[in-house]
């Protein structure tokens, strides 16, 4: 009997719940708007966002933020909408009541770019008074971007309470942006707005000022002068920006060429398979990340640090193998070396293609390599910055190694005068192998860094081999400092030419300049002098 009773109670409770939920929702604008999310129509969703955001309903923020993250589930059959929390629990979007399960027929409400902008604007106006400073700042910035008139009240309210300086400034900018586009704002308000934007002085302010449409004459005049002064300051910043881009491109060139500066520059081996060593380094990074992804996902941010020594060892070992099996038989025969290493590069490419497939492999950026920060009016991306730092570090270590270690001493001795070094008891063939391995290993390290900005595909190396030779020859064969100066010169020259001549013409112009330069100075920027040259 008790069992029977409890079953009945259960069914009673269930039917009670069913009735409660089947009751028609109190039809108000908020409820109607929420139901529209279930229509799977972009215009309806857009409308719903606007109504929900301005409804003042406490559920507005959870609904809109769930929409942003793809956690807003809508059932097209029953027109019911659910908010799934980050913890996996769901509530009904209209009533706020928890629900046990979201029906299978429900799917996440879809967004397109237009709607994402509406969502950002809505979230902005809803979080202007959030307790978190970061959220408030972001909110003020998204209101600045959308500058919807409806947000003015919220901005004014937030401004009155705001204590944080940078948030206050962002709110002031947002207010100015709104007023500039508000048709019934007074002339004084608009002039103030123009002044605020002029003080901000970045591209976004410029965009607002140029796109503000019809305004009273005095405002148009003030805006024109503001546009002029912003453009002037941006023009100066763009020079700084070009210089930075040049440094960054130079660092990539240097990184790719630095291994070649050893194998070609110091040893004199025309190594066409140099690019493939870079590629092998990049694939090592891929393998490291694959292992980390499947076994130790927590280590992902350290994947590059782990990959650097591994890439050095893998590429270096392959380099030693190549030197022992092929190159040592070809010393002093540059043409045959060229052909043999060229063939080798094709073999290595096809081997990688067979092993890893012809398509690009995904190498992710650790969080510290993603994104950018603003320095004045230029954007500096973290990946480029770290690559510059990394390149300089590799260069310094290599230089120190050549200068202060026994192996470095032997390397210099062998490359400057092989027979003399041999008669001093240096095992020249062992040094040859190690030098080639060192150059290849450094190319492998370059591959780790380049995997962060380029494709990891079997063709990766090909795109760097020409540039690398260019840098080494231009800088002066056999001189590491020449390679450094050569790489940065080419990088900066390229980046100052590119905005004027375009990427294609810029590259051609650089090639022509190098050819002319080599005519004048066949030994490059920093030619080695003395008897060593002839050896």
């Amino acid at each position: 009997m008790p069992a029977h009773l409890s079953a009945r109670l259960c069914s009673l409770a269930l039917s009670f719940f069913l009735i409660a939920f089947a009751l028609p929702a109190l039809a108000g604008p908020f409820e109607d708007a929420v139901a529209k999310f279930a229509n799977d129509d972009y215009s309806d969703t857009d409308e719903a966002i606007g109504v929900v955001a301005s409804s003042g309903n406490p559920l507005a923020f959870p609904i809109i933020s769930a929409l942003q993250d793809g956690r807003l589930m809508a059932d097209p059959d029953s027109k019911k909408v659910y908010v799934t929390g980050t913890d996996g629990k769901s509530i009904d979007a209209v009533t706020g009541q928890p629900v046990a399960t979201v029906p299978d027929s429900a799917s996440a409400v879809r967004l397109n770019n237009r709607l994402r902008r509406s969502v950002d604007a809505a979230i902005g106006s809803l979080t202007l008074q959030s307790p978190d400073v970061g959220t408030r700042l972001q909110a003020a910035q998204s209101v600045f971007k959308s500058h919807e008139e409806t947000a003015l009240e919220a901005v004014d309210g937030a401004l009155a309470k705001e204590t944080n300086k940078s948030v206050k400034a962002a709110l002031g900018d947002a207010r100015a942006a709104i007023l500039l586009f508000k048709p019934d704002a007074t002339e004084v308000e608009k002039l103030e707005a123009v002044a605020t934007l002029k003080a901000r002085g970045d591209q976004e302010a410029l965009a607002l000022l140029t796109g503000m449409g019809d305004q009273p004459a005095s405002v148009t005049k003030a805006a024109a002068s503001a546009i002029g002064s912003i453009q002037n300051s941006l023009a100066i910043w763009s020079m700084v920006q070009n210089a930075w881009y040049g440094l960054s491109l130079g660092s990539v060139l240097l990184l790719a060429a630095i291994g070649l500066a050893i194998t070609f520059g110091v040893m004199g081996v025309i190594n066409m398979a140099h690019g493939e060593m870079v590629m092998i380094g990049a694939y090592t990074t891929f393998v490291v990340q694959e292992v980390i992804r499947t076994r130790y996902p927590g280590l992902f941010d350290y994947s590059l640090l782990i990959a650097v020594p591994l890439a050095f060892v893998v590429a270096g070992a392959i380099g030693v193998l190549i030197e022992r099996s092929i190159i040592r038989f070809l010393y002093g025969r540059p043409l045959e070396t060229l052909l043999a290493t060229w063939g080798l590069s094709l073999v290595l490419q096809q081997a990688v293609r067979t092993m890893f497939g012809p398509t690009n492999r995904e190498v992710g950026n650790p969080s510290w390599m993603s994104g950018a920060f603003e320095l004045g009016q230029i954007t500096i991306t973290y990946n480029r910055l770290w690559i510059l730092v990394f390149t300089l570090a590799v260069f310094a270590i290599l230089l120190a190694m050549l200068r202060y270690t026994a192996l470095g001493l032997e390397m210099r001795a062998v490359t400057q005068n092989r027979r003399m070094a041999a008669s001093m008891g240096i095992a020249t063939s062992r040094v040859d192998a190690l030098t080639f391995g060192l150059g290849s290993g450094i190319a492998g390290i370059a591959g780790v860094a380049l995997s962060q900005i380029d494709n990891v595909s079997p063709n990766l190396g090909q795109s760097y081999i020409i540039d690398s030779f260019m840098v080494v020859v231009f800088g002066g064969v056999g001189n590491l400092w020449g390679t450094l100066v050569g790489a940065f010169t080419l990088g900066i020259a390229n980046k100052f030419l590119e905005p004027v001549a375009g990427a294609v013409l810029g590259k051609i112009a650089i090639l022509v300049l190098i050819i002319l330069f080599i005519q004048k100075r066949p030994r490059g920027l920093f030619a080695l002098k003395g008897r060593a040259v002839e050896a």
Binding site: N112, Y245, N360, S370, A372, T379, I453, D454, P499
Partner: protein, 440 residues
């Protein structure tokens, strides 16, 4: 000592060389005799690069044709004969495409060839197909301005991809300012010329169009992305129409992401980025950027689901993606089979005449038809990139769009049509009622 040892090595190398050559010869003989024995098969040529730069895209298409032949043979082949694939590797080397095409037709005696990706490779094989009178099915979206008797274009013409994409941005995203960015070769240059003319006909001013070309495999996008950012801050909604090819896309999107340009600020619509290309990219920063194609893997239709399942089973890879040029091969292959069965012959002349008017189901639930200009009818979809590397279709044309061999937007070609049924001409001028001769 040294010289002697190298000599020994060289000698042993040459001995090995002789051995290898003999082995190669024997293999060649074996394949020749094999070819004789298999006279009761119909040979299908596959001309896609399996090595070099284009291997990244073309290898999949080779697999697709092998898969389709396998499926067809399970159904009993064509005209009671089994199909046999002859695969060659033109190695992303344009002149080699012509050589390999000649080899397929004269030596292997194939009845049809499925192949090519880049326009330059297609242009390189055209004279061969004309001279030896064979059939080429070309599966990739291209710049148009061509209609050849021996070629069937199953990829999109500009009016089946580029123009609808621009229409979408104009209407739905209210874009007023345009960056046309492309790799520096024939497809982007022609497409951008067509787009520029089209935009101007819609009232877009010259100063609101920025055209930018970059070399193949360009990897340093800092300056260009900064330029786009600058161009986009003129107070008008800006979008980028990208005909950037293959490998250069990854660093381009990475730079966009790093410099903080999101799809909701400046959307990029690409014509060369599909599921296959996204498989090698971290798609998080790409969220919301667009692509225009005639097929997406994510499109729900019974045909598509069946195809994806069979394809993944065939490749034994449950994650293997499908893409637009693959669908073009599926349609083209089906059309060829139907045409051969209709005329009960693989004779190229008969099949070429039979193909226009043939219909085949596409994978998105419609029926594509081969037109007299040797292009086909296709639906056009705009998809947004999702975090899982797939696309979410946000817009599609109401019906199928007929491919124009000659663009209606360009002065030089707006009066031309291709008609291999009535006029027997690839570039018939409808104003002067004259055929201009060759179709490209």
């Amino acid at each position: 000592m040294f010289s002697k040892s190298t000599h020994d090595i060289a000698a042993s190398f040459s001995r090995r060389g002789v051995l290898a050559a003999t082995a190669g010869l024997m293999l060649g003989l074996a394949s020749l005799t094999g070819a004789k024995a298999a006279d009761d098969t119909i040979k299908v040529g596959v001309l896609h690069s399996l090595s070099g730069t284009m291997a990244i895209s073309e290898t999949t298409l080779k697999d697709t044709i092998l898969f389709l032949i396998d499926e067809q043979n399970k159904k009993g082949g064509v005209l009671g004969k089994k199909l046999e694939a002859v695969v060659v590797d033109p190695a992303s080397n344009w002149p080699l495409f012509a050589e390999k095409a000649r080899e397929l037709i004269t030596k292997d005696k194939v009845s049809v060839v499925f192949g090519c990706w880049t326009s330059v490779s297609r242009k390189s094989v055209l004279p061969v197909f004309k001279e030896l009178n064979n059939i080429l099915f070309y599966p990739v979206q291209y710049e148009g301005e061509e209609s050849e008797r021996n070629v069937f274009y199953t990829g999109a013409a500009p009016n089946q991809q580029a123009i609808p994409a621009v229409d979408y941005l104009m209407k739905d995203e209210k874009v007023k300012r345009w960056v046309l960015a492309g790799t520096d070769y024939v497809y982007p240059r022609t497409t951008n010329k067509i787009l520029e003319a089209y935009l101007k006909s819609k009232g877009v001013a010259q100063e609101d169009i920025m055209i930018n070309y970059t070399p193949f495999g360009h990897s340093d996008w800092q300056t260009i992305v900064a330029d786009i950012k600058k161009f986009g801050s003129a107070g008008k909604k800006t979008a980028v129409v990208s005909t950037i090819n293959g490998d250069a896309n990854v660093p381009f999107y990475k730079e966009l992401g790093n410099q903080g340009i999101k799809a909701k600020d400046i959307p990029v619509v690409a014509f060369s980025v599909g599921e296959e290309e996204l498989a090698g990219i971290d798609t998080k920063p790409l969220l919301g950027h667009l692509a225009a194609w005639n097929y997406f893997q994510s499109i729900k239709s019974p045909e598509n689901e069946k195809f994806i399942k069979a394809w993944q089973a065939y490749t034994k890879n449950p994650k293997r993606v499908t893409n637009d040029p693959m669908e073009a091969h599926v349609i083209g292959f089906d059309m060829w089979v139907k045409a051969v069965e209709k005329v009960k012959s693989t004779d190229p002349d008969k099949v070429i005449d039979a193909l226009p008017g043939i219909e085949a189901k596409n994978l998105t639930g419609g029926t594509s038809k081969m037109l007299p200009n040797h292009h086909i009818t296709k639906p056009v979809f705009i998809g947004e990139i999702k975090a899982n590397g797939q696309f979410d279709v946000v817009w599609k044309t109401p019906g199928l769009v007929a491919g124009d061999a000659w663009s209606k937007e360009l002065d030089g070609s707006k009066d031309l049509i291709g008609d291999w049924v009535g006029k027997k001409c690839g570039n018939f001028n409808t104003k002067t009622n004259k055929c201009l001769g060759s179709g490209s």
